[in-house]
Symmetry: C2
Subunit: 388 residues, 2 copies
């Protein structure tokens, strides 16, 4: 899959961003809009404390159509009760009025600190006049949704004459069942909403649901796709493959830019009893603090990989069938650590993408884990990240 | 429960420790012995890659009698195949010969790096003559089993005229289903082995199984109790309470001395649908990297507590019934963050024991989580802790 070197928005989509004053400085408010209503699908966090925008978003996506996304960073509007839900609705209404569209076609997202109310006056002033600033450059709006991300994230790709673009943010509190990860996907292809929903779920299962920066699961996670049909119909299958690819690439980007991360960690499991067990083992390895610090330190410590596999006590694991490779080098055969060239493995662990391949030898199940190393940077960011 | 200010071994137990050369320096080999065979019970890790000493220990504990424990630190004898099992047996045999007792009465433990064979010549030289050094001071033997612990751990208590003593080590790779936590309990009380087993399981469920330093589960965890009966029979119930108390205190000591830890974190959940769900939620909060870094940073960030409760997607949680207190101060009522004196909470978070109390309001289930904060120290120790 060839991603554009200079990612762009699809036909009929524009966006804008402002500093409205929620952050002390920097862009903190983004608006994405289609010229016409779009078929839409969305997935939200499974956390029992979903943010107010998620609660309202779940209602709206039942209509299967969206035309705009309004998103702010720094305050997530979670655990704010009925007042928070009213704030979320009002934020959407302000964007709808600004664009002259029905409020039901606006999706809201908020990311940041939990438990604080949105500063509605600042948001109102921020949204007023924003429609007149809509343009083709996706980068400012990608910046407007950043929290502790170190860089904005936009990807785009061509498929069947249409463009598919993803704008995302991540950084921390990210684990399968999604993340304070926000990913908005836009395409000028025409696809019916049920098909969009099906393809989005499939792509998410193979990407965002494999992603874990720190095993914590945000209350605001949202992945949404808007298809405005400007280019006309496309074949679902090449489109689905493009969606799979862009979601996987975005997941890896989010992991690589995880809080404090210096390396991407990719764990592949084969030979599990079934796919759920394959995913469970991959997740255990990618989440293990001892594996993550080993990846950071760059020192091969094979025992930690075996420990992380073995602690999945509910999975069918037969110790003497387990094999493992680090950066392609066999380090465990028949459940036992085998001799390997330590200097070579240490050298391979200095690369910025680390791959651990595990074969369990008990079935046909597979699993993928996408994560990152655990560093002092994560501790610094999260012990200092103030609630106020 | 009053623990002895100067913990001591019970009647008829002695111990000794040596530097045999597995570590570059410091004690690395400990022997604990009873003058007579003792009734015994033991619990081992549920990790699918149990160490060789665990494999042999599981066999031996079926005999329900032990007379000695031989333990080394620095190499764990895990993932070493058949040869490792032979090494474990030989280590036990050497100790049995040294003590002049049957080898079936010796329990072996090894803790440290996974995937390396034990240096048997060093161990053999280390064990030779060790019996002549057996004495009453528990501290050197407690030092001999330390890995990244910062201090040796011994507790003792009187119960019904008998003494109950615990010698433990912990530090990292510690989570419920136990830990590379080794805890050896010795008593001069007389209790039948089945009763010992029952009381040990109960005590462990309320202590070691609630303990999580980093969510990783070691391949070497062992908790064993030896009762040599020198003082005669005791009532099981006050003894059971004493065992509960000493196991809980040892768990908290292990957590407080977790790798890089500066604070003990105690999470109590009530009102869960049932006890397993109560434990699941407590574990989620105590393991959450974002809660752990918040505890380290001492800044109240209530949203992280809600996030960690809410990510237990399989548990029955009704958001608007959830209440939470930090150091006794209500911070969440009806699932919503309530105003509280932030300066006061910040002050209370500076204490060295942090308590988070959660009420789920859906049932009668309870759970306890014992853990610690997550700091740069954990990262430093575990990114540098070399496999060789």
């Amino acid at each position: 899959m060839d991603f554009h070197e200079n990612p762009r928005l699809p036909e009929g989509f524009r966006c804008a961003a402002r500093h409205c004053g929620i952050k002390a400085s920097g862009l903190d408010l983004s608006l994405f809009a289609s010229d016409t209503p779009a078929h839409a699908a969305a997935l939200f966090t499974r956390n029992h404390f979903p943010g107010a925008p998620v609660l309202v978003g779940r209602e709206r996506i039942r209509g299967r159509r969206l035309q705009a996304v309004i998103a702010n960073s720094k305050i997530s509007n979670v655990a704010t009760g009925e007042g928070g839900v009213e704030d979320a609705r009002r934020m959407g209404l302000l964007a709808a009025r600004e664009l002259g569209i029905p409020e039901e076609l606006v999706l809201m997202s908020s990311t940041g600190v939990i438990g604080e109310r949105l500063p509605m006056e600042k948001l109102e002033r921020g949204i007023l006049g924003l429609a007149s600033e809509l343009g083709d450059d996706p980068w400012p709006a990608a910046r407007g949704i950043m929290t502790t991300d170190t860089e904005p994230k936009v990807l785009s790709v061509e498929v069947g004459g249409a463009t598919l673009t993803a704008v995302g943010k991540g950084a921390g509190m990210i684990a399968p069942n999604m993340a304070t990860m926000l990913v908005f996907l836009f395409t000028d292809a025409e696809l019916p909403a049920p098909r969009l929903d099906e393809l989005l779920r499939r792509a998410s299962r193979k990407s965002f649901e494999c992603l874990s920066v720190d095993s914590d699961t945000s209350t605001s996670d949202t992945v949404a796709i808007l298809a405005n049909g400007r280019i006309g119909p496309v074949e679902p299958e090449p489109f689905g493959s493009a969606l799979d690819a862009i979601c996987l690439r975005m997941s890896e980007w989010v992991a690589r830019d995880g809080e404090g991360a210096t390396k991407l960690l990719r764990v592949r499991v084969v030979g599990a009893a079934d796919d759920p067990e394959g995913r469970r083992v991959a997740r255990s390895v990618v989440d293990s603090p001892l594996v993550k610090t080993m990846v950071y330190g760059g020192d091969p410590n094979v025992g930690r990989i075996l420990m992380a596999i073995g602690k999945c006590v509910e999975c069918r694991i037969v110790a003497d069938r387990v094999e493992a490779r680090v950066q392609g080098v066999p380090v465990v055969v028949g459940g036992v650590r085998v001799p390997y060239d330590e200097a070579r493995v240490r050298g391979l662990l200095a690369e910025d993408t680390i791959e651990i391949d595990i074969s369990l030898g008990v079935g046909e199940g597979r699993g993928l884990g996408i994560g990152c190393d655990l560093t002092e940077g994560y501790i610094r960011e999260n012990s200092a990240y103030a609630s106020s």
